[in-house]
Amino acid sequence: MAAARHSPSAPPASSLEPLLAAKEIVICCGSGGVGKTTTSASAAAMAAAHLGGKVLVITVDPARRLANALGLERFGNVETQVPPALFAEAGIEPRGELWAAMLDTKQSWDELVRSHAPDARTRDAILANPLYENITGRFVQSHDYIAMERLYEIHASGRYDLIVVDTPPTRNAIDFLEAPDRMADFFSSRLLRWLTVPARSRVFTMASKPFYTVADRILGSQFLQDIAEFFLLFQTMYDGFVDRARAVTRTLSDKRTTFVVVSTLEAAPVREAEFFIDALRDRKFPLGAVVLNKVLPDWFGDRGATWSAQRLCTDAEPLAAAVAKVDDDVGDPTQLARVLAEVGESFLNFQVVATREADQRAELAEEATVLAAVPYADHDITDLGGLLELGASLWR
């Protein structure tokens, strides 16, 4: 294989292909704004195109353009097949099928309640409870749990060969790893039992009394009672929930699952990626690959080019004159000189960033074995062809 055109120190990037071929669940995670959703979609598209089988990508909040790229007008909680015609348009005959679904937190919670509530009355009482509405709708802490729960449900159904998950933007990248455990802890907690003892028959123990005193004064006893009532209802789903949460955690650490950490080479996302890699290691969750997005081309680090760029800045005028002498298509030498100086300066500007990136990349490379790098896209992705083109750089 020919060496890359101008290639300084960048470590060789490996492919995502073997990973996607070997696993059943690929969870893409990383901080916000690093291109997680696009990476997930393009990895899934590549798997469907080249590996075959039924591939599903679950995304959280795709850009309209991405939904369009997948040919989906209504991107709902329901799994929808990406029209095979789109692959044909991109000039590819896919070996498998690509499906997509979006995570609708509220709807997923409702489904969960429906399947775990002991009877219709409890179910309706929960669904109509104002606290429930608030927890599932207005506030977002429940996003992370529900994403993992839905992943579990779909995986257990056995409908897909490969599921690629785009994780929700949590406050903290590892929240969703702990969400199932937190949920299980919550349901088995003593506090919940205290709370759900009917107010009148409450026996105040020495331990619980101060809690009620403070809670009453702050929240008001009515609200406290509302909370208690809500949890009382919720507790009827205890067994189902705890079992489920444990099963979700088992799935996350299963051999068939792998995590892909997505990052750009900006300082903050890299910090978070490193933190995330550590968190996966601590919990013995399998880290499969690190994908670096929006990486500047490595020729920005080329020494010869740097030297040339510096010359363009310092000697723009004589260089312009020399070029204009041999080639009269390039116009007026004064204007050409300005262009040459701009070109040189722009290169050196980007080089500052590229150098910092190379440094960050080397640091990350020490942490993870597989690294795929996606070059900076100078245009937005508007169709499946664009996704596959991007995917090609994950596939080399």
Partner: protein, 316 residues
């Protein structure tokens, strides 16, 4: 009459993850402090990015003066609860609050809005007590900020009596006064950040009482060429011209030209998104542009450069 951005008392800086929200919040704080305002910077998603922007040791709940006139703290709901209990309820038995606060934290996690109100409450408290001229909040990302700003209202709807209920009124007053409180959305001229900015601008209006104070567009690329120059550049990419240039320079020029080409294309794509942002925002929204800085590192120096850029945009 629109209020001058830094003359407000409480600014929530938010935006999609990765757009440079913390850096902009830090720079706004630094700029305000340099203009003689006692300023408090508060990081809500304690990730330590605020401390990194000033290259200082990690911030804590207890505000610390990190530069003349500039204080920094990080939000901690449990500490906020303790402070609240101490100030508001004058509770005895404070020594027993350790496990108590933990239990409470538990309820707060489950009961909607309690955590949010502890955050908003602390910030509004600092404003009400006039401890600072300006409080700049490095707020949660756009997906979470609405829940936070709407919390007093939500609590008001859910809780009918009790201390928390009594507290929501004055917070609402502070949040809904446009001369006092505003949201600054940070964006970059890219597809998703622009979409999220427009969506958030809409939701702020319908779901929260808080005014949209400004939109900061970060990482705007400089215009490389004028129209005439761009033609010259295109001519320069012809093989004959490249050969002539290689001869003249005596080194490789293709990557340098490729680099300029990439810069031009990136700018063009971003200009389109910028256009979408401008037309999509409510008329009269203040837009501030911060150029891409091509920094070597992120830290004090970058924060200062961005503060300067913002200062120029604000006409100081």
């Amino acid at each position: 009459m629109p209020t001058d951005l830094l003359d407000r008392r409480l600014l929530f800086v938010t935006g999609k993850g990765g757009v440079g929200k913390t850096t902009i919040a830090a720079a706004l704080g630094q700029l305000a402090a340099s203009r003689g305002k006692r300023t408090l910077l508060c990081e809500v998603d304690a990730k330590g990015n605020l401390a990194a922007a000033f290259e200082t040791s990690p911030t804590e709940f207890e505000a610390r003066e990190i530069a003349p006139g500039l204080w920094a703290m990080s939000m901690d709901t449990e500490a906020s609860l303790r402070e609240y209990l101490k100030l508001q309820l004058k509770l005895p038995l404070l020594s027993r609050l350790g496990p108590l606060a933990r239990t409470f934290d538990f309820v707060a996690n489950a009961a909607p809005g309690v955590k949010e109100i502890l955050v908003v409450g602390k910030l509004c408290y600092e404003v009400r007590e006039r401890h600072y001229d300006l409080v700049v909040v490095d707020a949660p990302a756009s997906g979470h900020i609405v829940g936070q700003l709407a919390a007093p209202q939500a609590i008001g709807d859910l809780v009918h009596v009790g201390k928390v209920r009594d507290q929501t009124g004055w917070m609402q007053d502070i949040l809904s006064d446009a001369a006092t409180t505003g949201v600054v959305i940070v964006s970059t001229p890219e597809e998703m950040p622009v979409n999220e900015t427009l969506e958030l601008a809409g939701r702020l209006g319908t779901e929260t009482p808080v005014d949209l104070a400004a939109v900061v567009v970060n990482r705007v690329l400089p215009e490389l060429f004028t129209r005439g120059e761009e033609e010259v550049f295109r001519a320069l990419r012809e093989p004959a011209a490249v050969a002539a240039l290689v001869d003249a320079v005596g080194g490789p020029v293709e990557p340098v030209l490729d680099g300029a080409d990439l810069a031009v294309k990136m700018r063009r794509t971003r200009a389109e998104h910028l256009g979408e942002l401008r037309t999509g925002l409510p008329a009269g929204t203040e837009l501030l542009y911060v150029p891409e800085l091509f920094q070597r590192t992120h830290g004090v120096r970058a924060t200062g450069q961005i503060a300067e850029a913002l200062s120029a945009e604000l006409g100081y």
